[in-house]
Subunit: 187 residues, 2 copies
Amino acid sequence: MDTDLSGNSRVVILKCCGYGFRARAFGAPRNDGSEMSSQSPFALPGTSTELEEGLTLTPKFDADGLVTAVATDAASGEVLMVAHMNAAALAKTIATGEAWYYSRSRRALWKKGETSGHTQRVVELRVDCDQDAVWLKVEQIAGACHTGRRSCFYRAVPLGQAGAKPGEMKLEFTGERVFDPKAAYRK
Amino acid sequence: MDTDLSGNSRVVILKCCGYGFRARAFGAPRNDGSEMSSQSPFALPGTSTELEEGLTLTPKFDADGLVTAVATDAASGEVLMVAHMNAAALAKTIATGEAWYYSRSRRALWKKGETSGHTQRVVELRVDCDQDAVWLKVEQIAGACHTGRRSCFYRAVPLGQAGAKPGEMKLEFTGERVFDPKAAYRK
Protein backbone atom coordinates (compact mmCIF):
# COMPACT_ATOMS: atom_id res chain seq x y z
CA MET A 1 0.00 0.00 0.00
CA ASP A 2 1.60 3.25 -1.12
CA THR A 3 -0.57 5.19 1.25
CA ASP A 4 1.23 3.56 4.17
CA LEU A 5 3.94 6.13 3.62
CA SER A 6 1.47 8.88 4.44
CA GLY A 7 0.37 9.93 7.86
CA ASN A 8 -3.18 9.00 8.81
CA SER A 9 -4.43 12.53 8.34
CA ARG A 10 -3.06 12.53 4.83
CA VAL A 11 -4.87 9.31 4.01
CA VAL A 12 -8.14 10.81 5.22
CA ILE A 13 -7.64 13.82 2.96
CA LEU A 14 -7.08 11.54 -0.02
CA LYS A 15 -10.18 9.50 0.68
CA CYS A 16 -12.34 12.59 0.98
CA CYS A 17 -11.15 14.78 -1.81
CA GLY A 18 -10.31 12.59 -4.79
CA TYR A 19 -7.95 13.27 -7.63
CA GLY A 20 -7.91 17.06 -7.76
CA PHE A 21 -6.94 17.59 -4.14
CA ARG A 22 -4.71 14.57 -4.16
CA ALA A 23 -2.57 16.12 -6.87
CA ARG A 24 -2.41 19.57 -5.32
CA ALA A 25 -2.13 18.84 -1.62
CA PHE A 26 1.67 18.68 -1.39
CA GLY A 27 2.93 21.22 -3.87
CA ALA A 28 2.80 18.49 -6.46
CA PRO A 29 1.89 18.90 -10.14
CA ARG A 30 -1.20 21.03 -10.42
CA ASN A 31 -3.38 19.10 -12.78
CA ASP A 32 -6.31 20.60 -14.60
CA GLY A 33 -8.72 20.51 -11.68
CA SER A 34 -11.85 20.17 -13.73
CA GLU A 35 -10.40 17.33 -15.74
CA MET A 36 -9.22 15.48 -12.67
CA SER A 37 -12.14 15.89 -10.34
CA SER A 38 -15.23 16.03 -12.51
CA GLN A 39 -14.18 14.22 -15.67
CA SER A 40 -11.95 11.45 -14.39
CA PRO A 41 -13.28 8.11 -15.58
CA PHE A 42 -11.75 6.33 -12.62
CA ALA A 43 -13.51 5.47 -9.40
CA LEU A 44 -11.47 5.62 -6.19
CA PRO A 45 -9.65 2.40 -5.21
CA GLY A 46 -11.53 -0.03 -2.99
CA THR A 47 -10.25 -2.81 -0.74
CA SER A 48 -7.14 -4.85 -1.50
CA THR A 49 -9.33 -7.68 -2.75
CA GLU A 50 -11.26 -5.35 -5.05
CA LEU A 51 -8.00 -3.89 -6.38
CA GLU A 52 -6.39 -7.28 -6.96
CA GLU A 53 -9.29 -9.43 -8.13
CA GLY A 54 -11.72 -6.88 -9.53
CA LEU A 55 -12.79 -6.29 -13.12
CA THR A 56 -12.81 -2.49 -12.82
CA LEU A 57 -9.83 -0.19 -13.31
CA THR A 58 -9.54 1.95 -10.19
CA PRO A 59 -5.93 3.19 -10.33
CA LYS A 60 -4.18 3.78 -7.05
CA PHE A 61 -2.60 7.17 -7.77
CA ASP A 62 0.13 8.23 -5.36
CA ALA A 63 0.26 11.44 -3.33
CA ASP A 64 1.30 13.29 -6.50
CA GLY A 65 -1.64 11.86 -8.45
CA LEU A 66 0.55 9.52 -10.50
CA VAL A 67 0.97 5.85 -11.37
CA THR A 68 4.19 4.33 -12.72
CA ALA A 69 4.16 3.42 -16.41
CA VAL A 70 6.55 0.92 -18.02
CA ALA A 71 6.73 0.84 -21.82
CA THR A 72 8.19 -2.21 -23.55
CA ASP A 73 8.83 -2.87 -27.22
CA ALA A 74 5.92 -5.02 -28.39
CA ALA A 75 8.20 -6.93 -30.75
CA SER A 76 11.44 -7.42 -28.80
CA GLY A 77 10.18 -7.19 -25.21
CA GLU A 78 12.92 -4.66 -24.39
CA VAL A 79 12.02 -2.17 -21.67
CA LEU A 80 12.03 1.18 -23.46
CA MET A 81 11.27 3.62 -20.65
CA VAL A 82 9.76 4.16 -17.22
CA ALA A 83 7.57 7.23 -16.80
CA HIS A 84 4.44 8.37 -15.00
CA MET A 85 0.80 8.98 -15.82
CA ASN A 86 -1.80 11.09 -14.08
CA ALA A 87 -5.49 10.34 -14.52
CA ALA A 88 -5.74 12.44 -17.69
CA ALA A 89 -2.72 10.75 -19.30
CA LEU A 90 -4.04 7.29 -18.47
CA ALA A 91 -7.52 8.11 -19.75
CA LYS A 92 -6.14 9.55 -23.01
CA THR A 93 -3.89 6.52 -23.51
CA ILE A 94 -6.83 4.16 -23.05
CA ALA A 95 -9.13 6.19 -25.29
CA THR A 96 -6.69 6.81 -28.15
CA GLY A 97 -4.28 3.87 -28.11
CA GLU A 98 -1.39 6.35 -28.21
CA ALA A 99 0.88 6.75 -25.18
CA TRP A 100 0.39 9.87 -23.07
CA TYR A 101 2.38 10.58 -19.91
CA TYR A 102 2.68 13.21 -17.22
CA SER A 103 6.01 15.03 -17.10
CA ARG A 104 7.01 15.68 -13.50
CA SER A 105 9.71 18.13 -14.53
CA ARG A 106 7.50 20.15 -16.86
CA ARG A 107 4.36 19.54 -14.79
CA ALA A 108 2.39 18.91 -17.93
CA LEU A 109 0.43 16.28 -19.76
CA TRP A 110 2.64 15.00 -22.56
CA LYS A 111 1.98 12.96 -25.67
CA LYS A 112 5.02 10.78 -26.30
CA GLY A 113 6.64 11.94 -29.52
CA GLU A 114 4.72 15.20 -29.80
CA THR A 115 7.99 17.08 -30.48
CA SER A 116 10.24 14.38 -31.94
CA GLY A 117 7.63 12.43 -33.87
CA HIS A 118 8.73 9.31 -31.99
CA THR A 119 5.27 8.25 -30.92
CA GLN A 120 4.22 5.02 -29.24
CA ARG A 121 1.21 3.07 -30.52
CA VAL A 122 -0.08 0.94 -27.68
CA VAL A 123 -0.59 -2.68 -28.64
CA GLU A 124 -1.63 -3.80 -25.17
CA LEU A 125 -2.10 -2.12 -21.81
CA ARG A 126 -2.00 -3.94 -18.50
CA VAL A 127 -2.36 -2.95 -14.86
CA ASP A 128 -0.64 -4.57 -11.91
CA CYS A 129 -2.10 -6.29 -8.87
CA ASP A 130 -2.56 -3.22 -6.67
CA GLN A 131 -3.25 -0.91 -9.62
CA ASP A 132 -0.43 1.56 -9.00
CA ALA A 133 1.54 0.64 -12.14
CA VAL A 134 0.70 0.04 -15.79
CA TRP A 135 2.60 -1.79 -18.51
CA LEU A 136 2.33 -0.66 -22.12
CA LYS A 137 3.45 -2.89 -24.97
CA VAL A 138 4.15 -0.39 -27.73
CA GLU A 139 5.23 0.04 -31.30
CA GLN A 140 7.94 2.66 -30.89
CA ILE A 141 8.86 4.98 -33.76
CA ALA A 142 12.68 5.48 -33.90
CA GLY A 143 13.70 5.59 -30.23
CA ALA A 144 12.09 6.17 -26.85
CA CYS A 145 14.98 7.91 -25.12
CA HIS A 146 15.58 11.65 -25.34
CA THR A 147 19.34 10.88 -25.59
CA GLY A 148 18.81 9.25 -28.99
CA ARG A 149 18.85 5.60 -27.94
CA ARG A 150 16.11 3.09 -28.70
CA SER A 151 15.69 2.42 -24.95
CA CYS A 152 16.44 4.58 -21.92
CA PHE A 153 18.17 1.50 -20.43
CA TYR A 154 21.33 1.68 -22.55
CA ARG A 155 23.80 0.97 -19.75
CA ALA A 156 24.33 -2.22 -17.76
CA VAL A 157 25.42 -2.43 -14.14
CA PRO A 158 27.95 -5.29 -13.96
CA LEU A 159 26.95 -7.71 -11.21
CA GLY A 160 29.29 -8.78 -8.43
CA GLN A 161 30.54 -5.29 -7.62
CA ALA A 162 30.83 -5.61 -3.85
CA GLY A 163 32.67 -3.36 -1.46
CA ALA A 164 32.74 -0.47 -3.91
CA LYS A 165 33.30 2.99 -2.49
CA PRO A 166 31.22 5.98 -3.62
CA GLY A 167 32.10 6.77 -7.21
CA GLU A 168 33.53 3.32 -7.93
CA MET A 169 30.33 1.57 -9.07
CA LYS A 170 30.83 1.07 -12.79
CA LEU A 171 28.47 1.06 -15.77
CA GLU A 172 28.89 -0.40 -19.26
CA PHE A 173 27.23 0.95 -22.39
CA THR A 174 25.03 -1.52 -24.26
CA GLY A 175 22.96 0.68 -26.59
CA GLU A 176 23.88 2.91 -29.51
CA ARG A 177 22.12 6.06 -30.68
CA VAL A 178 19.44 5.44 -33.30
CA PHE A 179 18.65 9.12 -33.90
CA ASP A 180 20.24 12.52 -33.39
CA PRO A 181 18.56 14.08 -30.35
CA LYS A 182 19.61 17.61 -31.29
CA ALA A 183 17.87 17.30 -34.63
CA ALA A 184 14.82 15.52 -33.21
CA TYR A 185 14.09 18.09 -30.52
CA ARG A 186 14.93 21.18 -32.59
CA LYS A 187 11.62 20.96 -34.44
CA MET B 1 14.54 15.85 -12.94
CA ASP B 2 12.54 14.39 -10.06
CA THR B 3 13.85 17.03 -7.77
CA ASP B 4 11.89 19.62 -9.73
CA LEU B 5 8.89 18.55 -7.69
CA SER B 6 10.67 19.68 -4.55
CA GLY B 7 10.98 23.20 -3.31
CA ASN B 8 14.44 24.74 -3.54
CA SER B 9 15.05 24.39 0.16
CA ARG B 10 14.30 20.69 -0.06
CA VAL B 11 16.83 20.26 -2.85
CA VAL B 12 19.47 21.98 -0.73
CA ILE B 13 18.78 19.59 2.12
CA LEU B 14 19.23 16.60 -0.18
CA LYS B 15 22.49 17.90 -1.56
CA CYS B 16 23.90 18.49 1.91
CA CYS B 17 22.77 15.47 3.82
CA GLY B 18 22.91 12.49 1.50
CA TYR B 19 20.98 9.27 1.69
CA GLY B 20 20.25 9.02 5.39
CA PHE B 21 18.51 12.37 5.69
CA ARG B 22 16.98 12.01 2.28
CA ALA B 23 15.12 8.93 3.42
CA ARG B 24 13.99 10.36 6.74
CA ALA B 25 13.18 13.95 5.90
CA PHE B 26 9.49 13.53 5.11
CA GLY B 27 8.27 10.77 7.39
CA ALA B 28 9.40 8.35 4.74
CA PRO B 29 10.88 4.88 5.31
CA ARG B 30 13.47 5.04 8.02
CA ASN B 31 16.38 3.17 6.58
CA ASP B 32 19.25 1.87 8.63
CA GLY B 33 21.04 5.19 8.94
CA SER B 34 24.52 3.75 9.22
CA GLU B 35 24.03 1.59 6.17
CA MET B 36 22.69 4.47 4.12
CA SER B 37 24.98 7.27 5.09
CA SER B 38 28.34 5.68 5.80
CA GLN B 39 28.30 2.48 3.77
CA SER B 40 26.45 3.47 0.60
CA PRO B 41 28.62 2.64 -2.40
CA PHE B 42 26.91 5.32 -4.48
CA ALA B 43 28.17 8.84 -5.02
CA LEU B 44 25.58 11.60 -5.29
CA PRO B 45 24.25 12.32 -8.80
CA GLY B 46 26.09 14.91 -10.85
CA THR B 47 24.96 16.95 -13.84
CA SER B 48 22.46 15.70 -16.40
CA THR B 49 25.31 14.95 -18.79
CA GLU B 50 27.18 12.98 -16.12
CA LEU B 51 24.02 11.04 -15.28
CA GLU B 52 23.17 10.28 -18.90
CA GLU B 53 26.58 9.71 -20.48
CA GLY B 54 28.73 8.71 -17.53
CA LEU B 55 30.31 5.36 -16.71
CA THR B 56 29.57 5.55 -12.97
CA LEU B 57 26.37 4.46 -11.25
CA THR B 58 25.13 7.43 -9.22
CA PRO B 59 21.45 6.59 -8.67
CA LYS B 60 19.05 9.49 -8.42
CA PHE B 61 17.04 8.40 -5.38
CA ASP B 62 13.78 10.26 -4.86
CA ALA B 63 12.69 12.14 -1.74
CA ASP B 64 11.94 8.79 -0.09
CA GLY B 65 15.40 7.44 -0.95
CA LEU B 66 14.07 5.09 -3.64
CA VAL B 67 14.49 4.25 -7.31
CA THR B 68 11.92 2.39 -9.38
CA ALA B 69 12.78 -1.21 -10.25
CA VAL B 70 11.20 -3.16 -13.12
CA ALA B 71 11.75 -6.92 -13.22
CA THR B 72 11.21 -8.79 -16.47
CA ASP B 73 11.38 -12.51 -17.21
CA ALA B 74 14.80 -13.09 -18.79
CA ALA B 75 13.36 -15.77 -21.06
CA SER B 76 9.97 -14.42 -22.14
CA GLY B 77 10.49 -10.67 -21.71
CA GLU B 78 7.24 -10.42 -19.73
CA VAL B 79 7.16 -7.65 -17.14
CA LEU B 80 6.86 -9.49 -13.84
CA MET B 81 6.63 -6.67 -11.31
CA VAL B 82 7.37 -3.04 -10.53
CA ALA B 83 8.85 -2.31 -7.12
CA HIS B 84 11.35 0.00 -5.44
CA MET B 85 14.91 -0.18 -4.17
CA ASN B 86 16.72 1.95 -1.63
CA ALA B 87 20.51 2.22 -1.68
CA ALA B 88 20.94 -0.91 0.44
CA ALA B 89 18.62 -3.00 -1.75
CA LEU B 90 20.36 -1.85 -4.92
CA ALA B 91 23.82 -2.49 -3.46
CA LYS B 92 22.81 -5.99 -2.28
CA THR B 93 21.28 -6.81 -5.67
CA ILE B 94 24.46 -5.77 -7.46
CA ALA B 95 26.72 -7.60 -5.03
CA THR B 96 24.79 -10.87 -4.84
CA GLY B 97 22.97 -11.18 -8.18
CA GLU B 98 19.75 -11.89 -6.26
CA ALA B 99 16.93 -9.33 -6.30
CA TRP B 100 16.45 -7.24 -3.16
CA TYR B 101 13.84 -4.53 -2.85
CA TYR B 102 12.57 -2.01 -0.34
CA SER B 103 9.01 -2.54 0.84
CA ARG B 104 7.28 0.81 1.27
CA SER B 105 4.40 -0.74 3.19
CA ARG B 106 6.60 -2.72 5.58
CA ARG B 107 9.36 -0.09 5.57
CA ALA B 108 11.96 -2.80 5.32
CA LEU B 109 14.66 -4.17 3.10
CA TRP B 110 13.27 -7.28 1.47
CA LYS B 111 14.83 -10.17 -0.41
CA LYS B 112 12.42 -11.27 -3.09
CA GLY B 113 11.23 -14.76 -2.23
CA GLU B 114 12.53 -14.79 1.34
CA THR B 115 9.16 -16.09 2.58
CA SER B 116 7.74 -17.85 -0.46
CA GLY B 117 10.98 -19.23 -1.90
CA HIS B 118 10.12 -17.50 -5.17
CA THR B 119 13.47 -15.80 -5.60
CA GLN B 120 14.77 -13.87 -8.59
CA ARG B 121 18.25 -14.54 -9.95
CA VAL B 122 19.38 -11.45 -11.82
CA VAL B 123 20.71 -12.21 -15.29
CA GLU B 124 21.29 -8.58 -16.22
CA LEU B 125 20.81 -5.25 -14.50
CA ARG B 126 20.45 -1.95 -16.34
CA VAL B 127 19.95 1.66 -15.33
CA ASP B 128 18.04 4.30 -17.26
CA CYS B 129 19.20 7.60 -18.70
CA ASP B 130 18.69 9.75 -15.62
CA GLN B 131 19.47 6.93 -13.20
CA ASP B 132 16.18 6.96 -11.30
CA ALA B 133 15.03 3.55 -12.53
CA VAL B 134 16.61 0.12 -12.94
CA TRP B 135 15.62 -2.85 -15.07
CA LEU B 136 16.32 -6.39 -13.88
CA LYS B 137 16.17 -9.34 -16.26
CA VAL B 138 15.55 -12.23 -13.90
CA GLU B 139 15.05 -15.95 -13.65
CA GLN B 140 11.89 -16.11 -11.57
CA ILE B 141 11.12 -19.14 -9.44
CA ALA B 142 7.36 -19.99 -9.65
CA GLY B 143 5.68 -16.58 -9.75
CA ALA B 144 6.52 -12.98 -8.91
CA CYS B 145 3.09 -11.85 -7.75
CA HIS B 146 1.86 -12.27 -4.18
CA THR B 147 -1.57 -13.16 -5.61
CA GLY B 148 -0.13 -16.37 -7.09
CA ARG B 149 0.29 -15.26 -10.69
CA ARG B 150 3.53 -15.43 -12.65
CA SER B 151 3.38 -11.65 -13.27
CA CYS B 152 1.70 -8.87 -11.32
CA PHE B 153 0.33 -7.64 -14.65
CA TYR B 154 -2.38 -10.30 -15.05
CA ARG B 155 -5.15 -7.97 -16.21
CA ALA B 156 -5.44 -6.04 -19.45
CA VAL B 157 -7.13 -2.68 -19.89
CA PRO B 158 -9.08 -2.88 -23.17
CA LEU B 159 -8.18 0.08 -25.39
CA GLY B 160 -10.77 2.41 -26.89
CA GLN B 161 -12.75 2.88 -23.69
CA ALA B 162 -13.68 6.56 -24.11
CA GLY B 163 -16.29 8.51 -22.22
CA ALA B 164 -16.44 5.99 -19.38
CA LYS B 165 -17.87 7.20 -16.09
CA PRO B 166 -16.20 6.38 -12.77
CA GLY B 167 -16.53 2.68 -12.13
CA GLU B 168 -17.15 1.81 -15.76
CA MET B 169 -13.53 1.32 -16.90
CA LYS B 170 -13.24 -2.41 -17.45
CA LEU B 171 -10.41 -4.92 -17.01
CA GLU B 172 -9.92 -8.39 -18.49
CA PHE B 173 -7.97 -11.20 -16.84
CA THR B 174 -5.06 -12.57 -18.86
CA GLY B 175 -3.03 -14.53 -16.30
CA GLU B 176 -3.79 -17.63 -14.25
CA ARG B 177 -2.46 -18.55 -10.83
CA VAL B 178 0.74 -20.61 -10.91
CA PHE B 179 0.93 -21.16 -7.16
CA ASP B 180 -1.31 -21.03 -4.10
CA PRO B 181 -0.53 -17.76 -2.30
CA LYS B 182 -2.03 -18.99 1.00
CA ALA B 183 0.34 -21.94 1.05
CA ALA B 184 3.35 -19.95 -0.16
CA TYR B 185 3.09 -17.24 2.48
CA ARG B 186 2.11 -19.50 5.39
CA LYS B 187 5.70 -20.70 5.79
